[in-house]
């Protein structure tokens, strides 16, 4: 069994600039932050191809104020989870789809689109998830500045039935 620290060293050997932004929180938990999105694909591919991280657990979207972040949780057979975090500017939140690497990323990426308003390039046409088809444009519920009352202004949703 390898340890998360070993994996971190291997990663640092390839990408020395990750030294400050990576840490091991406990055994089998590795956190890496790639704040520069242009370098993200390189790190992801290295982790998948050379470090045997072969299962994508999920993608978490975060609203970090000026930037929107996405954490890719990727697991390996030996139980180590690599949490790869990256950020894109809030006014242009464009990610590239990782479906070519992980087929199952599709539904998690759709979730990012619906709930946090990411744009994902290279995602095929398909049904949305998880919000209803009639959900108004530009309403992203998981953003911190969003309130359920935002919907009240928009008809026909959001008008509560009159109580008797």
């Amino acid at each position: 069994m390898r340890e998360a620290d070993q994996v971190r060293q291997e990663l640092l050997a390839k990408f020395p600039w990750l030294d400050a932004s990576s840490r091991v929180s406990r055994s089998r938990r590795l956190w890496v932050e790639v704040s520069d999105y242009s370098k993200f694909a390189e790190v992801l591919n290295f982790a998948v191809k050379n470090l045997d991280f072969d299962i994508l657990c999920t993608i978490t979207g975060l609203d970090d104020g000026p930037v929107l972040s996405a954490v890719y949780h990727i697991a390996a057979k030996d139980g180590i989870i690599l949490n790869l975090k990256t950020s894109v500017p809030r006014d242009r939140p464009v990610l590239r789809s990782i479906v070519p690497v992980f087929t199952n990323a599709e539904i998690y990426e759709r979730e990012l689109i619906d709930l946090l308003g990411f744009k994902v390039e290279g995602l095929r046409e398909g049904k949305r998830y998880p919000l209803p088809d009639g959900w108004p444009e530009g309403q992203y519920p998981l953003r911190k500045d969003w309130k359920p009352e935002n919907l009240d202004a928009i008809t026909p949703y959001g008008k509560p039935p009159k109580e008797s």
């Binding site: 299962i55 657990c57 199952n104 398909g126």
Partner: protein
């Protein structure tokens, strides 16, 4: 029939206990293509979590799913405990694991019944569900409720168990083990059942890895993955159990994996009861959780639960992300349905043991009151009118009942 037919299965359909939509393109009875739409149960739990305290979230998270409620609450609480850096008492962890395994027993027996029902074998359903009552009662004795146990608290568990209760658990396990042996025999000997299960919904091992299948679905395709082994949480490192895999790659394999897992669970329950240490059941937890983030994995009956929690030093979490096992498995269903028969669709979908409540978490939409849409009250008035037109006036009955019963 040369013409292809597109048949909608769901969002409301007898085969689905919860809403999801499968559009199947059929040629005769053969399924050519399928598309899946989920999200009908999206309730805004992730957003709601951010607006509640950790204590409140515990119960909200527990209600993501009625069957694997303990799974979700444990996964969430493990993440919170990791951030808070709590030292966990052994007895608390043992009780938590005991409830977890009892829940797995209850969930797998439920699945067997549902699978029986989907292939028209209702007798099997009735018997497995009757036996499931034993484990439901055990859970009620230990935790206080049959579902949504509410046993977890940050830092341990809320209720201690007594010697007599553990004896009850041993006795119940004994009965259940005998029953399970019978079901294993039944599943491997009844030809009509085998015919319906084997060769159906095939998922090849490479597809299982590719599509990120988890839990019994992956294990039935020969992918040996189990968070209890890979990333031992709670007290699984102390327990001796086998990782069950099967190479049938089909629904029959999934049934075999679940049935054999039941036997492993009984083994684990025995070990948990005999090894249970004495001591406190919970550590004192602070109301404010220090800033930090953690990801927690938990092998729920249906597969791996992944919870991500980010704390910001206040009483409320900054972000909670839930990945339920069904969401990971639902993408494999399209593959399984391909070139299958329409008649096999219910059992294939049931074979991943779907739980759409788990899958779709997150916003509360107040009922639309737009034009042409009737709300409950309108519908009620309309039905009263409808019956009145036909000379039947029942509107007074409710009032009479209220006055009679005094409620």
């Amino acid at each position: 029939m040369a013409k292809n037919v597109v048949i909608p299965v769901g969002p409301q359909h007898p085969a689905l206990k919860e809403p999801a939509n499968f559009s199947l393109t059929l040629q005769g009875e053969k399924i050519l293509e399928s598309t899946i739409r989920v999200g009908y149960n999206h309730r805004g739990i992730e957003k709601a979590c951010e607006e509640r305290t950790y204590v409140q979230d515990m119960y909200l998270i527990e209600r993501i799913c009625g069957i694997c409620s303990h799974s979700h609450s444990t996964a969430f609480i493990q993440a919170v405990e990791e951030i808070a850096g709590l030292e966990m008492p052994g007895r608390g962890l043992y009780i938590r694991t005991l409830v977890a395994e009892l829940e797995r027993v209850h969930s797998h027996l439920l699945w067997l019944g549902v699978a029986g029902h989907e292939v028209g074998f209702d007798t099997l359903m009735m018997y497995t569900w009757r036996d499931r009552e034993i484990v439901m009662d055990l859970l009620q004795v230990l935790t206080g409720n049959r579902v949504n146990y509410g046993i977890n608290t940050i830092g341990g568990v809320r209720r201690d168990v007594t010697k007599e209760q553990l004896d009850d658990v041993m006795k119940g396990t004994q009965t259940l083990e005998e029953r399970t042996k019978y079901y294993i025999e039944l599943a491997t000997q009844e030809p009509t059942l085998i015919q319906r299960l084997s060769g159906v919904g095939v998922l090849k091992p490479e597809d299982a890895v590719n599509l990120g299948a988890v839990g019994p679905v992956a294990r039935a395709s020969g992918v040996a993955r189990d968070a209890r082994k890979e990333d031992p949480y709670a007290v699984y490192a102390d327990l001796e159990f086998n990782l069950i895999t099967d190479n049938h790659n089909d629904v029959f394999g999934r049934a075999v994996v679940r049935l054999l897992e039941l036997m492993e669970s009984y083994k684990m329950i025995r070990q948990l009861v005999t090894k249970m240490p004495d001591g406190p059941i919970a550590a004192k937890a602070p109301r404010k959780i220090p800033a930090g983030e953690a990801i927690s994995r938990y092998e729920a009956p249906r597969g791996e639960d992944v919870h991500y929690v980010k704390a910001n030093g206040t009483e409320k979490p900054e972000r909670v992300k839930v990945r339920a096992p069904t969401l990971a498995n639902i993408q494999a269903v399209t593959k399984m349905l391909e070139n299958g028969q329409l008649a096999d669709m219910p059992i294939v979908v049931a074979a991943i043991d779907p739980c759409f409540s788990c899958t779709d978490r997150a916003i509360e939409i107040v009922s639309p009151d737009g034009p042409g849409i009737l709300v409950w009250k309108d519908l009620r008035e309309w039905s009263i009118e409808w019956y009145k037109e036909r000379g039947l006036d029942l509107s007074g009955l409710n009032k009479k009942l209220i006055s009679r019963l005094g409620r």
